[in-house]
Structures are given as structure tokens and as C-alpha cells.
Symmetry: C7
Subunit: 279 residues, 7 copies
């Protein structure tokens, strides 16, 4: 290694640079062709499987994106190997090169390994499919792709979030079963609680009769809090997955109108004013 | 290793690819058959054990899910070993391959080991069973499955949380014994405290007489806080597990009505207004 | 290792599986018998020791639970060793197996070692006994068991908390000596401070005369804060351990009534209203 | 090594210092020439490619900046190698020098490796292009450059943020598809909810008719919250990317004017004042 | 190792268990005797030293508790060594046993080493003595014991805090020199600032004349803040250690009474009310 | 090493101590002379370069301070080497001394390596120059020096902050291009929004006509928020770097005066008071 | 090692214990003599240097405390070495003892190395001198001692903070140059802004004329905020180091009096009250 800098023949170097550039271009073109062929083959396979076997579409898309994902990574590493080899570098010695560089690389790359290990188990345990509504580490949205290294989540405001799998610790999947609709409504301290509960329950029953997305309830639980200015009554219900917000909105409107119709007050914040006059 | 890229015979490669694909398919099918047989055997074993021996159902489900869980992981690693072998890779050398890659893998995979070690002790110490209501690391809900790597918790709003066991540090299990019902109620500064305590205690006694879920109390402790606008009285009670919220709701309604009936004021926030007129 | 997959004789394997299952069952049954005998022996030993030697009961229970705890762990590892041996695995080689797996296990298991080291010193330094009221890392409650790996804390609301010992850093033990009762009470800015202090001190002296749980004080310290609307007077006292809340509640009621009886105002929040009329 | 301090010939040293300085200057000049030539070649290549092949300009700039970035780093390390060699230091032995220094360097430099590994995958997975509006780790702005080690983000207030790639964990890209416009508007408790919803929907339809940036909606969802003083109605819509704020502003003005025109009150915060007169 | 399970002679084992238990008991008793003798010797030594040499008592207790602490740890490790030896285990091989277990133990035990290293330097640098009032990592109280591994702090509410020394980073010692008393008092915007400062300074001078715990001041600094409703004047003073709270309380009362006597208003929060009448 | 303590000849030791002290002094003096010469040479070089080549002064100072910085570190390590050698210690063996000490040093010194690596890339990528206004990790101010280990930042309140380079993760440089001026102004709900926008835009245009530091705008964007008591209008503009605050101040005054002149109300917070009279 | 427990001759042991105790005492006494001599020599050296060479006193004390600090540590380690040797322990083998203990010690002691490395650079870069007012990691105060391991900071309330150097990351030194005085003052929305600015600037000029601690300004910058109830005007100034608070206090009083004298209102918080009468 000591002498390589002197041994450089600057004229010959320019010639080699041309040859190198040519080789490099050839490899790139080859790479692009192989990749596009591979991808279309994989896509076709999955679309056939989906039509023939009628698997749930979320799972099919999850697997399809994953296979393309893995295919791309393998391809890139193979071609990178070919490129390095053309320029006389041995990947083997590069990777096995222990010592300081090895230490730094080992520590620096542990994040990548964590990503893949976590990603593998998320897929194995089917923690989420494409199309699920999830909350992971403060990000809230619909899964667009589950990869070995990264998961793509589309937020409700349209943002696309790229999350390395190692960032996924506790995963809250909101698309696995019926959901709860919960409404808290405050009535005045002067009102009779039993009457109010009866009025609210009747309103709930009417809402249920007209909405087939409600699976259980809605039922009035009772006094949840004795607030500063109101007695808070809680109503809960079970709805079909994804319908919880619509049901909550419908319940809020119906309950408010029922209380109005029965002259039960929903109070504003109260304050007792003790008056002193000075100066 | 240096020559493997040149040695690739592209025509022969295509042929091999076909054979490989065939072998791969065969292994996958074998895997699916073995898995489904294994699972049904395990399920049958547990359902018989449950009916014959009358073990508590939470524990039976915990063990059943755990056994299936372990069975699946072992199966996957065995089949992965077979697949790798077919393609000429030695798992032994792969794993023992120290150096940079080994370092990175060792660090990256420590999370997985942590998961299993923690999971093993959670099961050994019976910290939770399927069906328990727990709070772990900010997640609140009912246990659906305790696995070696992951615990599944169903939140009350219907969300299913997947939590790697390493995330579990302090585990609060709310299903192990009687629970406390606690109600704080504020009375006006003008009211006599002893009278109010007597009225509240009588209301508590009436509630207890009609509710067999109350194990101890409810008893009035006394003045918990001298608040900005009210004198806060605390009432506590012991109830059967899971009944604490219902008892609290019942107590809140009963105590509020008792104070109303005895003309003891529950005050709104007060403010003294000192008036100055300018300009 | 290379050939083990081919060498599997599938027919013979089924036979062996049966034998293995039998051995496994035998070991499990043996394990359950030994464990229940061991436990009852330990329990009897301790109950005799407790009646004969009259040690403080908290410490006896701590030691008893610890001994059972250690007995269980040792038993489990011994039986696990027997099981592994039956299936031809050497624990020695398993544990000493350095390389990537060793690294991962070493890192992953450090939490377990931390638990045991910390647990050992907590027991050695007698930082807590069963029955103590402690606060550790945000969890507040009564100690139910101090183990080598885990500590069980019963919260006041009935929840049972399982805390790995490594989570215990600063341990606040509230059951080691007399406790302080502290009451802050606000009087109006118009009142004479010296008069108020005298009235409050007299009320304190009356409370003390009737309550033998008070060890020192209660004494009025003076003006703690010049608040937005009130002059805050602080009263402190020393009580027997566990009686601080009851004393505080009694003091709050007595002091409020003393101020009422002497026409000293406890003011509501004040606001000066400067009035401007527009439009 | 032991004798090198004695062997220093101070006179000769001054002479050598001059020669060293000369060599150093020569290398620096050479470095600057090579760098400027290399950069202009790369820039020209990309500008031709952009005009001939009509690639999307964000991607072209991303690649161009990346190639210059990598070219600069390679050049610097090559010249640093030449400089070190001139002064008799072997990079090889420097890097491979294990022991204490090696350990410290290995740990200290892991951040650099993390940067490059993360940067490589961000580019490979096309998580962002120059010109995208992103949010990363609390920084909000437009991407100016994606490098192997650092990403440059221009905040909306004009600040240029330099972010090492390892700091990038979850990347929120706001430039990938249609965005949501969301307006919450509160109406008085006295108003009829159905009428209000109808008025708001009509106003929404008018806005849509005149704005081609709106892709879906806007549609009135219903009662989102029963607030302290108002009933909050939610309106959402899908717009072209980047147009969400303009659409929200337009909607806010239109909806407010529609409510005014129909005499539907948007209420101020309410408070009930209970009056007591003392002293 | 392979054969030890078979070689167990179950009858002989029971006999041995008895002998082992006897030996174990003997060692425990020996341990208790040696410990109690050692402790009383150390205590006597220190009490003589304290009376003869008149060292400051805080330091004597610190050293005495430390010596007992170290004596206990050494004793325990010696006896643990004896016990292990009796049962045929070599501590040497146990500790030197590298490999996976060694790695885990090394990592797990680093906390213990950190405790001792930090503890050693805290003692060497005399950062605190028994009886000092300190604040460490959010815990506030009086030092009861400074050990090599743990520091005991008694909070003012009576709680005893056990803190591993590694948790001690920045240590705030409030018992090393004079302390500051600081009082902020607000006057009305209508008052003349110079008059108020003069009145307050006179009151300060009177307080100082009657209190020998005040070392410097109290002096009025001037206008600290122009608040929302008041002009805040700051007064500071230096007092003997531990007397700062008493002096602050005395100052608050004296300053409030001085302002009252001179008709300078301490204002309540102000709000200008602009009135509009609707509906 | 075992015998060195016995071999100490105490008389000879005193003589040696004198000689050592003399040598030490000589080295120190030599060090101070070399340092002051070196520094003045570097400073002169840079001041000539600055006047001859007219480089931007921020960059010249950055480089000058860096070169002095590196010169000082090299000098110190060389002289430390000489000192150690005089006292018979080999730096080589000191540094290469693996084992426990080496491990501790390696871990302890990693912060230093991180500082230098980060510092090197900050300089290479020209992330900041002396005189730039930056925000790094919560510190806000003007760069005074960029060193290999530490960066000096002068806060606007005059404080000088010393920040180790490893603390620099995301660096926000506010001196790279035009800045935004942003003013939010609230108008009453009763006002006509279109009129208000027109009035504000006219005021903006007048401000722009008289201020050449404004590069774009200011333009009125529209209704940013429907606030609790006001309709908030947003105005933004682009200004020369460093002029954003002056422009914002000018805009605030001009817009407020324009609204006053056109009788458009800037409302105070509103509250609806519902009056109830009790007792 | 196996036999050492048997080989203990208990009678001889007691004799040896006496001899050991004697040796130990001798060493301690020697240690105390050497230490006190060394300290007084160092102190005398520095006091001469300070009077002869007139170095800035802060720097002299910093160096003096540092030298004593280092002298103490070296002495302690030398004597500890002698003590260990007397009792037959080799420090060399102790330290070099790799394996589990070595690993634990290496990790545990890294904090100590970090302290010394950081301390060395803080001293080398002269980041602070004794007497400087600094803010480090939330601690605010005057430097009393800069040591190799610990820095002592005296808070303004009299507390002495001991901070390990590794805790020092960003160091804010408030004693390096002129400081800024900043006053924000709010005027009513009804006032004319230009008049107010003129009045405030005149008051500022008067303050400057009488205070030689003001280096620049004070000058009125303009409208900093359009607040909820007031228009906030900002005034800034540069003062001598340490005089910023006194100047701010003087400015606050002068500006408030100037506004009063010119009848410009400093407004209280405003609220518009819309009145509705119900029930």
C-alpha cells in the first residue's frame, strides 16, 4: 500500500478513467433492465394470486410491496459487489476488516440491523397490513407500505411519514375489531340526575334504531365527574371499525337536542361573584 | 470467493433458478401443512385440559397462546434452516461469522434477546394472565395474549396494542384483589363541616346497604383540602375488582343528592370583585 | 452439523417424539412435587421462627418470600438443565457459546444481572421490608414482596405493581420514623397577622391535647407567602408514622373553625375591576 | 520511538520546515484545481442530462448535489492521504492502530458511520427530493440539499438548518400527494345545528365552484365537540399539494361571512355570573 | 459435567443436606458474632476520638458510619467466600469465568462499580457530612449516612431516601456558609416608588436591629418587575446558615405591616372591564 | 515495579526534586516563547492574506482562529510528551496500555474524539462562519470562534457560551439568505374582512415604499385563525438578512395606525356574562 | 488460593492485626504531615507570584486551587499504593486484572476519566476562572474552584454546588464582556405610539447621563408585540459586566415615572364584557 501513490501513471490514468466510466455505465444500464423486469414479474404474480385465490387485499399488497422491497435490496447489493470488484475492491476484506474502522462500522450499522430484525418480526406476527389505521411513536395514519427497513404511514392531513422500523416500539393498531364511541355531556347542578339519564338513554335508543354501524349500546353509564360547573354524564357504545367518529358526532347532536327538548340545561362555566366596593 | 462472479454460467443459472423455485415452493407448502397440524393438535390438547381439570380460564388461554407462539417460532427457524441449506448457506458459519457483521448483528439483535428474557420472567412470575386489566408504559387495557416476544393489549377504545416485552418495565396489574373507590366532594366555606360529614356518611351507608360489590366502607375521611372556593371532603371505599368505577358513579350521584336534600351547598368557583370606576 | 437434516429418519422420529413427550411429562410432574414440598417446608420453618423468636413480622415475611423466591429460581434452572440434557443439549456449551449469539445474549441479559445485583443490595442494606409504604420511580404504595429480580408494590387504589429491581434507583421509604403534618392556611390582607397567629396557635394546642399521635408541635411558623389574595400562614407538626394524613385533616378542620369563631376571614381569590363603558 | 526527541537537529529542522511548507502549499493548490475542474464537469453533465431527458428537476438537483458531495469527500481523503504520507505518517497503521486510541476513535466515529448509513438509505428509498416540504425532528422547511452526511433544510423564516443524517428518524414528507384542509368553526348553543350545517355546506359548495385547487369536498362532517361555550362544527376538504393553507384561509372567511349573513352567532367565551353581595 | 445428574445418590444426598445445613448455621452464627463485636469496637473507637480530639461532630459521624459500612461489606464477602467454598464453588473461577455469563455480569455490575467510585470521591472531596442539608437529583433533605454504595437522605416530611451514589451528579449543599433571604413585594402602580422604597428600607433596618442572625442587609434593591397589576420591589439579605426561612418570614410580616401603616397599597390582580350590552 | 518503594533514597530524592523543578521551569518557559512566536506569525500571515486577497472577513477569522487553535493543541501535546519523557514515562506505553485502565480511558475519551470529528465536518461543510447568527441546542447567538473541540457563541444578552462540538446536532444558521418578517393582527368579529384586508395591504405598500431592506411583499395572506375574540389576519414579507426584526416593528406600528385611522377595531379579549342573582 | 482459609492461624492473626494497625497509623500520620507541608509550600509560591507579577487574581486562584487539587490526588494514590503494598496487594495486578471484574471496573470508572478529560480542556481553554458568574446545566452561580474532577459553584442563594466535570456540556459564562439590559414596557392601545417612544427615549437619555456603567444606549427599539391589552415597547442597552440588573431596575423606575408624568397609560389587562341577562 505504501507505494501506490507514486505508481500512479497520470496519462494512463485518464485512459483508465474512460474505460472505468464505460464499465460503470454498462453496469448501471444492466441494473436498471434487471430491476424493471424483476418488478413487473413480481407484480404480475401477485395480481394473479389476488384474483385467483381471493386473499384479503390488504395482506396481498403488504406481501407484494415486501417482496419488491427485498428484491430491490438484494439487487443493489449484488450490483454494488460487481462495481466494487471491477475497481479492484474486495467486499469480503472490506467487511471483515476489523480494527478501528470495523468497530466504528459495527456500531454505526447496528441501527440498520435493528431495523431489519424488528421489521422481520412485525411481518411475521402480522402486526399491521397495508390500509390499517395505526399510531406509532406519535405518528397517526394509514399504513401505505411495510418494508424490511422502513414503514410508510400516510397521515390524515396527507403527509407521508417514513419511519425506520427500529423506531416502532409499541404499535397501536386501530383496525382490529369494533371500536368504542364515547360522549361526555355536562348538565347543570340544578337538574335532576335521574331524569337527565332517562332522557339521554331514550335519545341513545333512537340513534341506535337508525344506525346499523352501532354494535352495542349506546348506554348511559352515570355521573362520571362532579365538575366545577356541571355534572358530567358519560355515554359509551361499540361501533363497527372506522365508524366510531361518525357515531360520536351523531350522538353529540342527538343528545344535545334531546336535552334542549326536555329543558335540561347544558351549563356554561359558572363563577360566584362576591362584590366589595372600594374607593 | 474472488472468482464466483466470473464462474456464473448464465444459461445454467436460469435452469437452476427454476429448480430452486420448485424446491422453495415445496418447502413452503410443507411448512404450511406442518404448522396447521401442529396448531390444531395444541388447541385440542388445551381445550381438553380446560374442560377436564377446570383450571382458571385466563391461565389456560395464556399457556395455550404461549405454546402456539413458541411452536411457530421453532418451526420458522427450522424451515429457514432447511431453506438456507438448500441454497448452500450454512447457518452455523453465518451466525458464528464474527467481525464487523457479527458486531453489528450482535448489537442489533440485543433487543430481541431482551424481549425473550423479559417475556420468560413475566410468564414465570405470573405477572399477568389473559383477561387482566393492566397499565404498561402508558398503555392501558386488557391483555389479549402474552407471548415470548410481544404482548397484545386491547385498549378500552378498541385499539389493539402490540408491545415488545422489553418495553415492559413497571407493570401495573389492576386485576389482583379489591380496588378502591374514591370520591372528593367540595362544600361551601359557610357550611358546618361536622354536619356535612354526618350527612355524607349517612348517604354512604345507604349506598352500601344496596350494593354487594362494596367490600369495605364507604367512609368519610374528613377535610382533604381547604380549596380556593370550597372545603373538599374525601370519601373512600373498597370494592370488588372491576366494580370501582360503577361504585364511584353511584356514590357521586348519591352524595350530591344527599347534600341537595340537606341544603348543603356545593359551591361554584368564587371570586371577590373589588370595584374601582375610572374614566 | 451439515448432514443432520438428511439423517433424520422420519418414522423413528415419531417414536422418539412419543418417548420425549413421556420423559418431559415425568420431569414436569417431579418438578411440581418437589416445588410444593419445598415451599411448605420453608413456610413452616418461618412460621415457627416467627412465633418462637418474636422477630418483627415485616422482616420475617420479607425473608420468607425471598427464600421461596430463590428456591423457585434454583429449582427451575436445575430442572431446565435436566430437560435440556434429556434432549442432548449441553448447557455448558450453550452458555459459553461465544460469537454473535453470545454477544447478543450478553447484552440482552444484562438487565437480568442488574436486577439481581440491585436486589441483593436492597436486601443487604434493609432498604425496605414487606409492609413499608414507599415511593419508587413514580409508583407509590405498600411493599408486598421483595424478590431478587422483582419487587411487588400494592398501590393505594388496589393495583399490584411488578417492578424489576433495576428500575429502583432512589427509594423513598415513608415508614422509617415520625412524619411531618403540614397545613398552609390563607387569611385576608385586612386581618392583623399577630392576632391570627395567636388564634391558630391556640387551636393547634387544643388539637394536640386530644391527639396522642402528635409527637411535636403543631406550631405556627409565620407568614410563608404573600399571595395574590391572601397572607399564607404555615403550621407544621411531627406525628407518629402513618398518622400524618389524619392529623392534617383534623388540623385543617380545627384551624378553619377557629378562624371562623374569631371572625378572621379566609378570603376567596380577589380581583380589582376597573370599569370602562364603551359603545 | 524512545529517541526521537534527542535526534531532532534544530538547524536542519528549520530547513525542513520550509520544504514542508512548500510541499504543503503545492498540494493545496493542486487540490483546489482538481476540485474546481471536477465540479464544473459534474455540473455540466447534469445540466445536459436535465435538458435532454426531461427528468423531474427536484430529483436531478438531488442527484447532482449528491455526486458533488461524494466527489468532494473522496478528494479530501485522497489529498489528506498524500499530505500525511509526505510527513511520513501511514494512514494504514494510523487506522488499524488498535488499543486505547483505537477504542476511543471507534466510539467517537460511530456517529459519522451512522450518518452515512442513514443517508445512503434515505437516498436509496427516495424519501425526499430537493424542494420537498418536510418535518424532521422538530425542524420544518424545504429541502435544499440531501448529502451523504448532512441534509440542509431551509425553514420558512429563512433559517438554513444543517442536520446530520443520523438525527433523521421519522421523516414527514408533506409533498407527496393531496393535502387536507381542515376548519373548525363554533356556533352558539342556541342555534339550530341542522340549519347551521346546511348554511355551512352551501358556503363550502360556493367556494369549491371558484377554486380549482380543491380536489374533494369541502364537506361538513357534523358536531366535533360540545365546547364550553360553543358547538364546534368540523369541515374538511382535499386540496392540491401546497394549496391547503390558501384553501383553509378562503374557507374561514367564506364560512364566517355565511354565518353572519344567516344570523347564526359565533359566540365569545361565556361565563355565568352568580352574584353575592357582601360587606 | 455430563454425568453429575446420574451420579446423585439420593439417600446420601439427604444426609449431606443435613450436614450442609449444620455448617451453614454455624457460619451464620459466627458471622453474627464477629459483626456485632466489630461494630461495637468501631463505635467505641470513634466515641473516644470524638470526646478527646473535639472534631466537628458531623464529620465524626460520617467517618464512623463509613467505617462500619466498609467493615460490613468486607465481612459479608469473606463469609460468602467461606460458604461458597464449603459447597465446593471457587469464587476465583466464578469471577474469572469469561464468555457470555461474564459479559452479562460485567455489564450488569457496572452500576455497582460506579456507585463505589462516585462514593469514594464524594468522601475524599468532603462534599457532604452527616447533618448537612442538601439537594441531590430532586431529593431535598438532611444527610443521615454517607456510604460507599448508598447515601441516606431524610426529607423534611420524614421520608428516608436511599440513593445509590451513581445517581448523585450535581450535589447542592445548603450547609456551607451564609444563606440569602429574598422577599419580593408588590405595590400599586399609583404609589410613589421612592416613598415605598424608603418605607421598606426603614422596616428592614428595624428587623435587622432585633435579629442577630442577619449578617448583611436587608437592603431594598429597587423595581424588579413591572407586573400586570403591581410594581414589584425586591429586598435581599444574608443570614446565618439555616436561618434564611425564619428571616424571610419575619421580613414578610414586617414589610407588609410597614406598607399598611404608611397607607401604601399592596394591590390585588386588576382587570379593566369594558362593557358592551347585547340582546 | 515491586521494589521501587524500597529503593527510594530519601536524601537523593530531595536533590532530584530540585533538578526536576528546574527542568520543568525551563520547559514551561520554552513553551511560552514558542507559543507566542507561533501565534504572532499565524496572525500576521492571515492579516496579509485578508488585505491582499479580499476574502470575506468572516471566513478569514474562522480560519485564523482555527489554525491558532490547532497550533496550540499540537504544541501542548509535544511539550507534554517532553515533560513526561524527562520524568521517565513513555507516552507510547501509556497510551497502548490496554486492560482495565485502557478500557476506562477509551470510553472516557470518546467524547473528545466525537468533538474533533464533528468539528472537522462543521468546518469542511462551512456550516457556520465567525459572525453568523445561529441557534444550536437551545443556545442562540453570534459565533465568536469555531474550534476543533469547542465553538464559542456570544448570546445577545452578552453571555459567552462554550459548546463542545459533539453537542452540535442540528445547527440552525440564521445568516444565510433573506429572512421572513411575519405579523399577525386581530380585528373584531364585527368588522368586514375584505375592507380590513384592503386597508392593511395599503399600509403595507406604504411601508415598502420607504424601506429598501424589504425584498418581497409585505402582502396580506388572509384569515389565519378564527380566534376566541378576534379574526386574525396574517401579513408576511421577505427582508434582507438581519433586518427582519426592524421590519416587523415598523409593520406592527404602521398596521395598528392604519386600522385606527380607518376605525377598524383591534378587540380586547371578550367574554359573554350571563347573570344569575342568588341569595 | 484454595487453601488460604485453612492456613489462617487464628492466634498469629491477632498479633499481625496489631502490627498492621500500627503500620497503618504510621502511614496515615506521614501522609498528613506531607500533605500539610506540600499545601503550605504551594500556597506561599502562589501568593508571592501574585504580588510580584500582578496576574489577574481570578486566574491566580484558579491555578493555585488546581495545583493543590492535583497534589492531593497524586499524594493519595501514592499512599494508597504504599498501604496496599504493606498488606501484600499488588496494584499492578489489581489494575491489569482483566476478566469480569476488569470489565465492570472499566465501565464503572469511565465517568472518572470523562471528568478528568473534560476538566483538562476546560482549564486549557480557560473557559472559566474563579469568581466568574456562570450557568452550567441549570446551575447558576459564582465559580469557587475549578478542579480536575469537580467544579464548585456558589449559587446566589448561598448553596455550594459540587458538579462533576463530565456534567458540564454547554458552559454559559456571564463574566466575559459587556452585558445587555432589556426592558419591555406596555402602553395602552389608545396612546400615540410615536409620542410614547419620544417620551421613553428622553427618559433613557436622562438615565444614561447619570450612570457611567451604561456603555451603549439605552435606545427605544419600537413596537415589539401587539399584546392582548397593551402595545409593548422594547428598550435595550449595553452595560458594564455585572451592572445589567442595577441598570434594568433604574430604567424600569425612570420609564414608569416618565410615562406617568406625561399621562401615558400603562394598562391593566382588559376584557370586554358582553352582558346577557337570563333567568
Amino acid at each position: 500500500m505504501e507505494k501506490w501513490l507514486e505508481k500512479i501513471n497520470w496519462a494512463e490514468l485518464l485512459l483508465h478513467a474512460g474505460i472505468w466510466a464505460g464499465k460503470f455505465l454498462l453496469i448501471i444500464i444492466l441494473f436498471l433492465i434487471v430491476r424493471s423486469i424483476g418488478r413487473s414479474v413480481i407484480n404480475q404474480m401477485f395480481s394473479r394470486a389476488a384474483t385467483h385465490r381471493k386473499m384479503p387485499s390488504g395482506r396481498v399488497i403488504t406481501l407484494q410491496k415486501l417482496v419488491i422491497n427485498m428484491f430491490s435490496y438484494v439487487l443493489i447489493f449484488v450490483f454494488a459487489g460487481i462495481v466494487f470488484k471491477q475497481f479492484g475492491l474486495e467486499i469480503g476484506t472490506l467487511i471483515a476488516g476489523a480494527g478501528v474502522v470495523g468497530l466504528a462500522v459495527g456500531f454505526g450499522a447496528q441501527g440498520l440491523v435493528s431495523d431489519v430484525v424488528t421489521g422481520f418480526f412485525i411481518l411475521l406476527e402480522k402486526q399491521m397490513d397495508v390500509g390499517d389505521y395505526v399510531t406509532i411513536g406519535g405518528v397517526d395514519g394509514i399504513i401505505e407500505e411495510v418494508g424490511l427497513r422502513t414503514t410508510h404511514i400516510r397521515s390524515f392531513d396527507g403527509t407521508l411519514n417514513f419511519m425506520p422500523n427500529r423506531e416502532i416500539s409499541t404499535l397501536a393498531n386501530h383496525s382490529r375489531g369494533n371500536m368504542r364511541a364515547l360522549v361526555d355531556i355536562g348538565i347543570a347542578y340544578e337538574e335532576d340526575i335521574d331524569t337527565a339519564i332517562q332522557v339521554l338513554q331514550e335519545a341513545c335508543d333512537k340513534v341506535k334504531a337508525n344506525n346499523e354501524n352501532i354494535m352495542e349500546g349506546p348506554s348511559v353509564l352515570g355521573v362520571q365527574t362532579l365538575g366545577a360547573s356541571d355534572v358530567v354524564i358519560r355515554i359509551i357504545s361499540k361501533t363497527k371499525n372506522g365508524e366510531q367518529w361518525a357515531v360520536e358526532r351523531q350522538l353529540r347532536q342527538a343528545l344535545k337536542e334531546a336535552l334542549d327538548a326536555n329543558n335540561i340545561e347544558i351549563p356554561y362555566p359558572h363563577q360566584v361573584e362576591v362584590r366589595k366596593i372600594e374607593k
